[in-house]
């Protein structure tokens, strides 16, 4: 294994992108994504990274540049947050429909208005159905490892899809953490050169991104959906290979102390680390609680999720985004639907909190637990969902 270095997670992420031998980077600066892109610009400017850095005038152009470059066979990277992603939205769909394995870090941030530069998952949830493979990374090491993972999975000819890595803005991007680097040879072995299925080549002209009549549209979308669902196999083997190299085990659904748990918390992103402390403290008091974290968001690992929560009576699902007028947060809605029809499914108790980086501490998670489940371990909570920590 390579050296352990203490650095800002954003810098570590940029170093991983450089080690992945990226060819084209196009991005527009937006908080809290900025340090990732700035560091990449620096590496290119200093001659340390032989790549094209395209300083575009908007996020819409950033992803458009990546699409053109990826279509020509280049390994591409972009990175954005919230409003930048919203401006990019049209192209986000096109990237996946054109089956171009672009890699994006989304430094998760709340969508305006009111204007907020802070962290939640409203931007992540806004692109749920865009057809990108999506994973949540909880800390610097996970971000670093998942850069290589993202290219390996996305570029696999069986997959050929873009991959988005969700990283909590500030809470993860701006902290300084120890990150274990990979050796250059390890990256090279893990990540073979990008060989696109089709590419723009003047010698062998093809048309990409053209119009399709209704007779072809549905077939195209079915092919895309099948590729997304079937990417699971490639995803699992890419994580298995990371385990062999680093001894770090990544799973589509991470579980922590779920043995015998009657109540299981379900969260995504950096909440997981804080919650694991709350789970330890509750367990120490004899409370049968556990924690489950769906790392893989698309394709969603339905079967693995169901088996991870098997036997639990209550699921406390904590969302960091709102589905206005909906039945709770997007994560809870997804999980409820995945449990529907099971014999004796666990009850889904949904809280929405931590919007715009509002602190949710170990104490808060313990309060949430108390509010959701009373002493007899029966849920005391009747609504579909509640906002936690709101002044009334």
């Amino acid at each position: 294994m390579g050296k352990r270095r203490g650095l800002e997670v954003s810098v570590g992420a940029a170093e991983a992108v450089a080690m992945a031998d990226v060819d084209v980077i196009a991005a527009y600066p937006i908080t809290p994504q900025t340090h990732i892109v700035e560091h990449l610009a620096e590496l290119v400017n200093n001659g340390e990274l032989d790549a094209e850095f395209v300083p575009v005038e908007s996020e819409h152009s950033a992803l458009s540049v990546c699409i053109g470059a990826s279509a020509a066979g280049a390994r591409t990277f972009t990175c954005t947050s919230a409003q930048g992603l919203a401006l990019m939205n049209e192209i986000v769909y096109i990237a996946s429909s054109m089956r171009l394995p672009i890699v994006m870090i989304l430094a998760n941030r709340s969508l305006s208005a009111p204007l907020s530069i802070w962290n939640d998952h409203s931007d992540a949830m806004s692109v749920r159905d865009t057809g990108w493979i999506q994973v949540f990374a909880q800390n610097g090491q996970e971000v670093f490892d998942h850069i290589f993972f993202a290219y390996r999975v996305g570029e696999d000819p069986k997959v050929s899809l873009p991959v988005m890595i969700h990283v909590d803005g500030f809470i993860v991007t701006h902290v300084i953490e120890p990150v274990e680097f990979w050796e250059k040879e390890q990256v090279e072995r893990y990540l073979p050169p990008f060989k696109p299925i089709s590419r723009l080549d003047p010698e062998r002209p093809v048309t990409m991104g053209a119009f399709a009549m209704p007779q072809l549209f549905t077939e195209t979308k079915v092919a895309q959906d099948m590729a997304t669902t079937q990417s699971m196999e490639v995803i699992l083997s890419a994580w298995e290979e990371i385990y062999k190299i680093t001894s770090r085990r990544y799973r589509p659904v991470e579980a922590y102390r779920t043995e015998g748990a009657e109540t299981i918390f379900v969260v995504q992103g950096s909440f997981g680390e804080t919650l694991s402390v709350a789970v330890d403290e509750l367990r120490a008091k004899g409370e049968p609680v556990g924690l489950v974290m769906p790392r893989l968001w698309r394709p969603f690992p339905f079967e693995l999720f169901r088996s991870a929560v098997k036997g639990a009576k209550n699921l406390i699902v904590i969302d960091r985004a709102i589905s206005f007028g909906g039945q709770g947060g997007p994560l809870a809605i997804e999980l409820r639907s995945s449990l529907f029809g099971l014999p004796a499914p666990p009850r889904v108790i949904n809280f929405i909190c931590g919007l715009a980086s509002r602190d949710v501490t170990v104490e808060d998670f313990k309060n949430i637990y108390e509010r959701a489940v009373d002493g007899s371990k029966a849920p005391v909570f009747q609504e579909d969902f509640q906002f936690y920590g709101v002044r009334s």
Binding site: S97, M98, R99, L100, S160, I197, S198, P205, V206, T207, M208, G209, A210, F211, A212, M213, Q215, L216, T218, E219, T220, V222, A223, M226, A227
Partner: protein, 95 residues
Amino acid sequence: MKGTKELLTWKEIIPGNVILNPGNAREYRTGDWRSQRPVWDFERCIMCGMCYAFCPDAAIFEREDGYYEADYYYCKGCGICAEECPKKAISMVEE
């Protein structure tokens, strides 16, 4: 690759709908959107080719005998050819 006329299944589509055969848009029957069709009166036609030049869909072709006519497989019935014809040799007829 099959043409679109033979209608590909989802398994046969090249990922990303990449088109390998140039000019296959030809195989799309786009003329069925038409609500009226241009009809030529060759008695009046002077073979100037204005209709051919103005058709926004390149649906008009020159026949062997030098007259022009629309290929109804593609003609959308917009009426531009009839409007531009200096001899009023084209009339639009309801489909």
